[in-house]
């Protein structure tokens, strides 16, 4: 069989891979994208970002209808949830977006290869399809974008039925009566939120003393208290030691402050982190360095591995394991292949948690600034004082801006509240433009909008907020 030759072969069709493919094609390169799933989009589209947001949307609306419509004078009888219908809607959205990526591939003349990729030489990739058949392609450059998969707890192995990962939790056939969520990171909180709203009794088990350990502490506790009010139960300093089936349920054994605890549930969702898919790619043999502890592939600032024509991006390499970070790196790698020097600034990558209220951040947390001994000023503005939030009836949360004590440069922004996910884009733009808090304070924001809270927080840095 003739071996087809490409300029770039991309292993992985997730947000990192497919974006790299499209960018490379825009730059005039001949591109092949190898993805083992039938649908493109990777974890993000198929079992991550998109399905979870769809379910969060559905469950939030259910919550609104159940608890908040009457505040508006809207009388509805007690709403019911048709889980299969909700899942079907989610599936339809995922399929639609997946088809969208496929047509983008067609438009950009990217060769789509279904199968598992393995690098067998610095310019050769072997593809194994579902049936086990092997083929090869040649490529001048290779971008590895195989992403990550959920980490597992050795003491509580996943069986896909009772002990599940987020992928399965997005496909439950019915609302679990009791749900245990192991890990109070963003996945645990989002998935916990979905099912709590729909009626589950959710117990979150977290090894550390607090939720969202990497987030700004004040913002994380604000969110945590809100989630508790919504019915999420938090158990901190709780270490899972094992679990066993009991009929149609699962018993989880834990230890907390020396005491033994047990939780009974219909399902246990394990979300204790994700690990890079760097094994089985054949890269060590080529001299590409993989960190044995983290599983991350070592790359330079231009996303190049130790082999000059092989790049690695996304969850495989250091930095936040976020889809948009992978996308930025995909673009950078494609540009660097043709001689560019594009780098990705990790300081301006936002992060969002899609609970309600949402939590979004960019830049440094107060803890990070304190540790680096950087003097800073704080400007805060609560949504309860924001007119738009009041009309929406969404008054929980606040905007917090951290500015450099001397230069007034914006160092960090943390938002807990309605639409924080969209509001953070303004903050990222300001940070990219090296703006000071005063720059924001002197920029007009439409009224009445949630974005005014951002402006007022900036004004609050110099104690000049008007509406508080």
């Amino acid at each position: 069989m003739a071996i087809e030759s490409f300029d770039v072969a991309i292993i992985g069709g997730g947000p990192g891979g497919y974006v790299a493919a499209i960018r490379a094609s825009q730059l005039g390169l001949k591109v092949a994208c190898i993805e083992k799933r039938e649908t493109l989009g990777g974890t993000c589209l198929n079992v991550g970002c998109i399905p979870s947001k769809a379910l969060l949307e559905s469950s939030e609306l259910f919550l609104q209808a159940s608890k908040h419509f009457e505040n508006h004078g809207i009388i509805v009888s007690k709403p019911q949830i048709d889980v299969p219908a909700m899942i079907a809607r989610k599936d339809k959205i995922v399929k639609g977006l997946g088809d969208g990526i496929s047509s983008l591939f067609k438009k950009n003349k990217i060769t789509r290869i279904v199968g598992q990729g393995k690098i067998i030489a610095t310019n050769r990739v072997e593809v194994t399809d579902k049936a086990g058949a092997k083929s090869e392609i040649e490529a001048k450059f290779i971008i590895i974008a195989t992403g990550s998969e959920p980490a597992s707890l050795p003491c509580l192995p996943m069986d896909g039925e009772f002990v599940v990962s987020s992928a399965e939790a997005l496909c439950f056939k019915s609302v679990p009566k009791d749900l245990v969520v192991v890990g109070a990171g963003y996945i645990g909180l989002e998935m916990g939120s979905v099912w709590t709203r729909l009626g589950s009794n959710v117990q979150v088990l977290e090894f550390l003393p607090k939720a969202l350990p990497l987030s700004d502490t004040e913002s994380a506790s604000l969110l945590q208290r809100s989630l508790e009010k919504q019915g999420l139960n938090f158990n901190f300093d709780t270490k899972v030691t094992g679990g066993k089936r009991e009929g149609n349920q699962i018993i989880i054994d834990c230890e907390k402050s020396g005491q033994k605890l047990q939780f009974k549930a219909d399902k246990a969702l394990v979300c204790v982190g994700r690990k890079p898919n760097s094994l089985g790619l054949g890269i060590e043999a080529l001299g590409i360095v993989v960190d044995p502890k983290t599983g991350q592939i070592k790359v330079d600032q231009y996303l190049r591995t130790a082999v000059p024509n092989i790049f690695a991006i996304g969850d495989l390499v250091a930095g936040p394991m976020l889809a948009h970070k992978a996308e930025e790196e995909g673009v950078a790698a494609a540009e660097n292949i043709i001689g560019g020097k594009t780098t990705v600034n990790h300081d301006t990558i936002p992060s969002v948690i899609y609970t309600w209220p949402e939590l979004s951040s960019v830049g440094k947390t107060e803890e990070q600034l304190k540790e680096a001994k950087i003097a800073y000023k704080i400007g805060k503005f609560p949504f309860i004082a924001n007119s738009r939030a009041r009309t929406m009836g969404e008054t929980e949360g606040m905007v917090k801006i951290l500015a450099h004590e001397k230069t007034d440069r914006i160092l960090g922004v943390h938002i807990v509240g309605p639409r924080a996910s969209d509001m953070i884009a303004e903050a990222v733009a300001w940070v990219e433009m090296q703006a000071s808090a005063e720059d924001v304070a002197r920029t007009c924001h439409a009224h009445p909008t949630l974005s005014e809270a951002f402006k007022e927080a900036a004004m609050a840095v110099e104690k000049k907020a008007i509406h508080i």
Binding site: K406, T407, D408, R409, M433, Q434, A435, S436, E438, D439, A441, R442, T443
Partner: protein
């Protein structure tokens, strides 16, 4: 359009010098007549100003030897006369505000606001942001290092008036300071005094004021008399019109008289050329011309160069008597002062006469005391009896 900046000629026999100082740097927006750089030659240090407005690019570094006529930089003149950056800066802000939007490198809102408040021209601020974007902290730093009396006062008003105000010397002020110090230290400056009865001149002025103005379109001032008297003195005592060049005394057989003019930027001494060939009217016209030029900041380098002697008039400010400093490489300078009615003795009678003190500062290395005194006496004679100028007695 790019216009080249060349090292101007600073004197006939000079072919090279050293570019001793840049006042501006690459990327700066410069205005017409704004000082750009300094050229040091063995004879003089000359300040060169911008001939056009635009964005500067320097090509030769400070301290480099340059030939006269060499290209040391260029100015990028944007169409319409507004400066546009030659560096790949981001597009200047398009937002509308009630404050003036400067052209040039882009700037953040707080930076513009602070610049407006502190009276800082954004075109002189170096932006440290991406694409040379001017950030708030850049303007803050600029204000701190160039603190003028109009610098931003913290909003919580100061409780008492500051005891000191610090202000950086402008490049021209620095140059003036350097030259004065140099003059003081490299020549042996002495001053000799005399006084002159101005009544004769005043009589002439009163008599011919109108007809002079009518005929020549310029007033008959004192300066033409002073200048004419000085020529008589210089002709009689050539050493006063000479200069020292290393081990040589160079006697200059032409009379280019510098007339000191006070401007906002400092003292300037533009030169009247070949004054011995000019009539009274021509002298007065030339002086008016130079005064206007100085006021409008249009004095060029060549206007300031090559004088052989200088006249300065402190009288316009009320000075009774002073000791002028030499204007190197000249060897003499005549100071005129205020005309005051004083009681003096004429023919053993005490009379009231309009008297003016004269001061001649001179370089004692080549002008002896006797010469200096005699020179000043000659001036006095010509002022008290202007007809002496006609008759050359």
């Amino acid at each position: 359009m790019i216009t080249e900046i060349k090292v101007p000629s600073v004197g006939e026999s000079i072919s090279e010098g050293v570019l001793s100082k840049w006042y501006k740097k690459t990327g700066d927006t410069v205005k017409v007549n704004e000082p750009l750089f300094e050229v040091e030659t063995e004879k003089a240090t000359t300040e060169v100003v911008a001939s056009h407005a635009g964005v500067l690019t320097t090509l030769i570094a400070e301290g480099e030897k340059v030939l006269i006529g060499a290209v040391v930089g260029n100015i990028n003149i944007a169409a319409g006369g507004t400066a546009s950056p030659t560096i790949p800066a981001s597009v200047s802000s398009a937002s509308v505000s009630s404050e003036t939007i400067p052209t040039g490198a882009a700037s953040n809102p707080a930076a513009r606001h602070l610049a407006e408040k502190a009276g800082v021209d954004l075109s002189v601020v170096t932006g440290s942001g991406k694409g040379s974007r001017i950030l708030k902290e850049d303007v803050v730093a600029h204000v701190e290092s160039h603190a003028k009396p109009t610098a931003v006062v913290p909003k919580d008003a100061r409780r008492e008036v500051a005891r000191e105000t610090r202000q950086r010397m402008t490049p021209i002020r620095q140059r003036i300071a350097e030259r004065l110090l140099h003059a003081q230290q490299s020549s042996a400056i002495l001053t000799t005094f005399n006084e002159a009865d101005m009544s004769a001149i005043m009589t002439f002025r009163a008599k011919y004021k109108e007809s002079f103005q009518k005929k020549h379109g310029v007033g008959l001032g004192f300066m033409s008399f002073f200048v004419k008297a000085v020529i008589e003195g210089l002709k009689a005592y050539p050493a006063v019109n000479a200069r020292i060049d290393n081990q040589d005394i160079v006697y200059q057989h032409f009379y280019d008289i510098g007339v000191a003019v006070s401007t906002e930027k400092g003292l300037m001494v533009p030169v009247l050329r070949n004054v011995d060939e000019l009539t009274f009217a021509e002298i007065e016209k030339k002086i008016v011309e130079l005064a206007v030029k100085a006021k409008e900041n249009k004095i060029t380098v060549s206007d300031l160069q090559g004088g052989t002697f200088t006249i300065t008039n402190g009288g316009t400010f009320g000075s009774m008597l002073s000791t002028p400093i030499l204007n190197p490489p000249q060897s003499g300078i005549l100071g005129m002062h205020a005309i005051q009615k004083r009681a003096v003795v004429v023919d053993d009678q005490i009379v009231i006469r309009p008297m003016m003190y004269l001061a001649l500062s001179y370089d004692h290395r080549i002008i002896d005391g006797k010469e200096a005194v005699s020179f000043l006496v000659r001036i006095k004679e010509c002022l008290e009896n202007p007809e002496r100028i006609f008759f050359s007695v």
